[in-house]
């Protein structure tokens, strides 16, 4: 049989439980704008019942737990998308600087000096004995080598910048993985102690998302509440409360390779700004540097060879206009003009008879025409120089444009994921306000019950007074 004291306890349990629920709603409202916060719900349940004979009495309500609402799958997908975006943004940022070197619409590329160089031979052919047209050839050659040297040097600078970004990313990654390892421990402890691990999980997800900006990670649930993080190739970054720092080592090119536990994983990294910068540093820029080297080497070789086929103003066989190059690698940086005397340009196709060091064929332009015609020969990797260069402009434009398209699509996908996540975890003020009113009413009702029971107890006590007096 129930007692008044039992009823009082029941009412009290309700007041306590409602108080907890009100706390939860208040905390949700307080954190409405907190980044990474997942809304919490107070889980109320019936208190254990008491059995007396055939009768079952309820003993009130209890706040069983407070849980954070989150969708772990959405977290993982958000992190993957973030890693993708991090890589694309790093690539686009550096790629835009590369394409600025080949921006023909604003005239900052190589086309004008390339065309001017060949035009100087046409000028020469129209008046081969004129010292001015001869000097113009050497000036145009110097302008061309200057432009190619400069572009090559600018590419190297961009490559060095990308290498610096790689090093910065690595130190950020190491700082984040060590924080994640700590928070992992907090989640494990909260889980073991029967507390709500939600707030620690919120913090962990925030950190993993930041980490994803720098590197793509795969996440696996260890079962005890902790997450195991590893790189795309399976190198461990975080296991339980332990983090594994990435390290760097200077490679043969003078750039930093990435090592995990003594293993070089540079080429296997995917996702995040680290992957984007490695892509720029180890693939994109070397590809352009190599194209530029090919252009410089083939131009040097073909022009020198054609000049050697003719005769200069003195009736001597032509020599080298450009400094002869021994290998393709580094050709763009090393390209130079070796000829200083414009008389040595071999415009003529014949030696002629030489009187006082002057050829009788100084007006011959056969070889000048041949030098001019080089621009239409497939001398650079099976293409004409302009065609080859145009291909380079297309490649950088296309690479950046493709990355931009992917970045836009990814940005929308990310926004979509954030909306889905907000649907699960976001705090809705109206919902919390309704809950608040609901819990408040229940609390007031319980308080009213206490008053009623109090009055009943008084009645009982007064009754005993009457009996004794």
């Amino acid at each position: 049989m129930g007692t008044l004291t039992a009823s009082l306890n029941t009412a009290l349990s309700s007041m306590l439980a409602q108080q907890g629920a009100i706390d939860t709603a208040t905390n949700n409202i307080a954190n409405v704008d907190t980044p990474g916060y997942s809304r919490q719900v107070a889980n109320l349940e019936e208190s254990p019942t008491i059995q007396e004979g055939d009768l079952t009495y309820g003993t009130g309500v209890q706040l069983a737990s407070v849980t954070s609402l989150r969708d772990a799958v959405l977290d993982v997908r958000t992190n993957q998308e973030t890693a993708q975006q991090g890589q694309l943004n790093a690539f686009i940022g550096a790629g835009q600087q590369v394409q600025a070197l080949f921006n023909e619409t604003s005239g900052t590329g190589l086309q004008s000096s390339l065309t001017a160089f060949f035009n100087s031979f046409s000028d020469l052919a129209s008046d081969p004995s004129d010292p001015t047209t001869r000097q113009n050839v050497l000036t145009a050659a110097q302008n061309l080598t200057g432009a190619i040297n400069q572009t090559s040097s600018n590419l190297s600078t961009l490559q060095t910048n990308a290498d610096l970004s790689v090093q910065q990313s690595v130190s950020q990654i190491n700082s984040l993985t060590s924080q994640i390892a700590q928070v992992n421990q907090e989640v494990v402890e909260a889980t073991q102690n029967g507390q709500n691990p939600g707030p620690a999980e919120d913090q962990r997800q925030q950190l993993i998302n930041q980490l994803s900006n720098y590197i793509g990670v795969s996440e696996t649930d260890a079962g005890d509440g902790s997450l195991t993080l590893s790189t795309a190739n399976g190198s461990a970054l975080v296991v339980g409360n332990q983090s594994f720092a990435l390290s760097t080592q200077t490679n043969a090119n003078g750039f930093q390779d990435i090592y995990s536990n003594g293993q070089n994983i540079t080429s296997q990294i995917s996702g995040g700004s680290l992957a984007g910068n490695i892509q720029i540093r180890d693939q994109e820029i070397p590809a352009f540097q190599n194209s530029l080297d090919t252009l410089a080497y083939d131009l040097t070789t073909a022009v020198n060879k054609q000049n050697q086929a003719g005769y200069d103003l003195h009736g001597d066989p032509g020599g080298d206009i450009f400094t002869p190059l021994t290998q393709v690698q580094g050709a763009a940086a090393n390209m130079g003009v070796v000829m200083t005397d414009p008389d040595l340009i071999a415009a003529s196709g014949t030696a002629g008879t030489v009187t006082d060091g002057v050829s009788s064929s100084s007006g011959d332009n056969t070889n000048a025409n041949a030098l001019y015609a080089l621009q239409n020969s497939n001398m650079v990797d099976g293409q004409t120089p302009i065609s080859y260069y145009s291909g380079m402009v297309f490649k950088i434009g296309n690479d950046v444009s493709t990355a931009q398209t992917n970045e836009q699509a990814g940005s929308q996908a990310l926004q979509q994921l954030q909306n889905l996540q907000g649907g699960v975890s976001g705090v809705d003020i109206n919902q919390e306000a309704a809950n608040l009113v609901q819990f408040q009413n229940a609390y007031q009702a319980a308080a009213q019950v206490v008053t009623v029971i109090n009055s009943l107890l008084e009645t009982t006590i007064n009754m005993m007074d009457t009996a004794t007096v």
Binding site: S129, G363, N369, Y389, S401, G422, G426
Partner: protein, 298 residues
Amino acid sequence: MSIRLNPNLLPDLLAGIEQSQQNETTASQELASGRSVNEPSDDPAAAAAIVFNHNQASQDAQFLQNISNLQGRFQVADSTLSNVVTSVTQAITIGTEGANGTLSPSERQALAAQVQGILTQVMGLANTTYQGAYLFGGTSVTTQPFAVDATTGAITYNGNDQTTTVQLTDGNSITANVPGDQLFQNPGGSILGALQDLYTALNTSSDNMGNAVTELGSALSQLDTQRVTYGNALNQINLSESFLNQDQLNVAQQENDLEGADVTQAATAFSQAQLANQAAISATSQVLNQKNLLDYLA
């Protein structure tokens, strides 16, 4: 129960504002620069085509410069040869006069002196230079092509028989000179030889006077034949010049097609983006000021 939506509308709204602002910037850049392709990634194919386009434009400019250079040279050559014709015609008149049997030896010698003057004049014309280079020495342009041998008195040609070819347009070339021996010492009729013969005939009162005049006549018609080369060349040059001027227009039009902004389209895009931007801002301000349940509970 319906699916719970994200209660936080701001990220979507802010993304909308950002997007419309970006569209506004793109359209205004296009309007300001007059170009739809400002960097290769805007349109990679157009950016690659612009390389060829600019190359073509510079080549055309170079060809036009060659043409203006050649025009000057050909005009000088043509007017030089025209002067030669005048002088030779004068010599023929003198020769015809000298053939008159009534003239005294001294009168003939006076005529001979006139012919000598004409010969010197023609020699000077044959050694004409243009911008420091001899016009009629073949490809030997630094040595005076015609000289009188001090001992024999014979006129020697020190040039060569080479011609030069200059490109006027892609795949279209022109011969830029006629070697001097073809003009002045042609085997079919030598101007210089005939003038010398006429001088000798007048000076010695020889019977060869008539022959010398005939010789001079055929040398003159030979010169006219060779001179046509320069006339034709000038015509060909003028044709190429018109072609190149037209091609420059085409190239400029093509450049505009490749990278030029469609102003109407850009202006429309700009006002659309502006409208979208205002709508997004207004929606955001309404959401920010929206009352919630708590406002009604007080």
